[in-house]
């Protein structure tokens, strides 16, 4: 039975060898050589150090294209023109499915025709040397961003290739990203990823790990996201990771977002072992964007403003083309610069909003309920607890496509635009907290003169792309 225990060294080696045989480039991985390569990198490329020592929120976009030279050009552009502080390399979907053969075809097609049919950078296919060429070319830290349930080979190759930060986790890259992977399976696979990061860490190469906070990106109640962040942080810490960046996706209500980021930081530090350096990342609105670049800039502006107030360590920016498709490099840079301008104009201002402490308190209480139920479900073991809690529905994520989560919990905004839980299903929560949510939602229902229903949820899903925060019924609007 899988538990929250560190993978023994010999087991680490065994799995390592096994997974490296999954694709030809796996052969090129050599741990000692990799450590030496990391040691040769200048300070400006050491992800954890750069992030942890920053004195204002660092900005990072998303970006990945199939060909190496294009990826270099893209990252150079985002660094130079977008003034990105941290850079990403987003991996294509075939690699995420471990379909390296299909990724290879896509890559070759891209090389021959110049047509990009892959939606990201197939790092496994590029191999250790390809990755290092990328790392060598860019004078900034670069993170691997993906969405891969079984990211073991990807981790082995990209760590050896010089990447010092790796997004994802067994829950956050399972529940929102895939239908059929069991949680037990992804936890096992991510224990390896974390253990490998831990092995580098032991050798002084601190690989930063970043659980994916936004989950399904769609009206995720803060406490659910925070609980999952803490669990993934704990799992990573057990395997020896010492630099962990906990994530959170903007819901759009400033008070709730600031409260959530505060709670994330506080609870992260509280639940994770002292030897872990905890940082936070704020994702600009991860749900549906307006089909209009000008309006999208408004959404980005609100994100920047929230970041200026909450001051997370890092912000993942969106581009004004988010709705449409993968953004051009110009649009991606524009999203960075718009965010930078808002943050830099607002960050020196003292902006203390009423009610943040109260909301933070609520979020913390909710998160503790969820953490308690996880520990109880696992008799003190967080791995078993997570599996059992998802199984029973005591832990759940709204809009989860995965068979491993009930996906039965439904969120809706209250009259102030804060995300509350409308349908609890089996989610574990103290009754008095449920009452608070209920009261808030019924106030909204009163305002709108309609019953709480899935229609309200659907309206909220569309609201931001329709230009509002709260999905009010069309009929009441008289403008």
């Amino acid at each position: 039975m899988i538990r929250d225990e560190r993978i023994p060294a010999d087991e680490l080696r065994r799995i390592d060898e096994e997974i490296r045989s999954n694709w030809s480039t796996g052969d090129d991985v050599d741990f000692e050589d990799a450590v030496a390569y990391h040691e040769s990198l200048p300070d400006s490329k050491r992800f954890a150090d750069v992030l942890e020592s920053a004195d204002k929120p660092l900005l990072q976009p998303r970006a990945g294209v199939p060909r190496l030279d294009d990826q270099i050009e893209l990252l150079e552009y985002l660094h130079r023109e977008g003034k990105a502080d941290l850079l990403p390399t987003t991996i294509d979907s075939y690699t995420r499915d471990n379909e390296y053969e299909k990724a290879q075809q896509g890559l070759e097609k891209a090389r021959e025709t110049g047509d990009d049919t892959l939606n990201g950078f197939p790092a496994v296919n590029h191999g250790v040397d390809g990755c290092r060429e990328l790392i060598d070319s860019i004078d900034a830290p670069i993170e691997v961003r993906h969405g891969t349930p079984d990211a073991r080979l990807l981790a082995a190759i990209t760590f050896a290739g010089g990447f010092q930060s790796f997004e994802g986790g067994p829950i956050s890259y399972n529940i929102p990203y895939t239908k059929r992977h069991g949680l037990e399976e992804t936890i096992e696979k991510w224990q390896f990823v974390d253990r490998l990061a831990g092995a580098y860490t032991e050798r002084g190469v601190r690989i930063n790990r970043e659980p994916f906070g936004p989950l399904t990106g769609t009206l995720v109640p803060p406490s659910i996201a925070i609980a999952i962040m803490i669990v993934e942080g704990q799992l990573a810490a057990t395997q020896g990771v010492r630099s962990i960046t906990l994530g959170y996706g903007q819901v759009g209500n400033v008070v709730q977002d600031v409260a959530a980021l505060n709670a994330l930081k506080k609870l992260g530090n509280e639940y994770l072992p002292d030897e872990v350096v905890v940082t936070t990342v704020f994702h600009e609105w991860m749900g549906g964007f307006p089909p209009d670049e000008a309006r999208a800039n408004g959404v980005i502006g609100l994100g920047g403003m929230t970041a200026a107030i909450a001051q997370p360590d890092k912000v993942i920016t969106k581009s004004p083309q988010e709705f449409q498709g993968v953004p051009t490099k110009e649009a991606n840079s524009a999203g960075l610069r718009t965010t930078r301008q808002v943050i830099d104009m607002a960050i020196e201002q003292k902006i203390d909003i009423d009610g943040i402490a109260e909301e933070q308190d609520l979020i913390e209480r909710e998160t503790r309920c969820l953490m308690d139920t996880i520990f109880e479900h696992g008799d003190g073991d967080v791995v078993q607890g997570t599996i059992e809690a998802f199984d029973s529905g005591a832990l759940d994520v709204p809009f989860a496509p995965s068979d491993s989560a009930k996906g039965a919990v439904l969120p809706a905004r209250d009259d102030d635009g804060r995300v509350r839980i409308f349908e609890w299903a089996d989610l574990e929560m103290d009754d008095d907290i449920k009452e608070i949510h209920k009261a808030r939602l019924s106030r909204r229902a009163d305002t709108e003169g309609r019953k709480q229903s899935f229609r309200m949820v659907a309206d909220d899903v569309d609201a931001i792309s329709d230009g509002k925060l709260i999905g009010r019924p069309q009929s009441t609007g008289d403008v």
Partner: protein
Amino acid sequence: MSQTVVLGVIGSDAHVVGITILEQAFSAAGFDVINLGVQTSQEEFAEAAVAHDAEAVLVSSLYGHAEQDCQGFHEVLEDAGVDAVTYIGGNLAVGQDEFERTRRTFRKLGFDRVFDSETDPEDAIAALREDLQIRPTESERATISS
């Protein structure tokens, strides 16, 4: 008479929110919706269409791999004996593509209608109502094709 539509997200795409909304909208409009969820293979679409004698197969794709994922889809349907209206919708191209080009691509692949991600579910429902009405009945079709 309530008509059956099969709905799902093709390939390894996991964007579920759109089909959740579509399921609700088509159900509310009186259709029987068989929602296969995300990451549905071509074969699963075909099997479900056969099993439920579906009038329509609604394919969703958001993540940018729709074209590859739909190669040969209509042959698979045909081989399984599925003769349903086929729609595809969502975010169908990687990057900032011009939609008309995209539409042509997917019409060529065999889809009866192609929708972009600005599509209001009501529009798709209206289109389907129209398409299902103008379609000949089973027996008429037998006469024509014989």
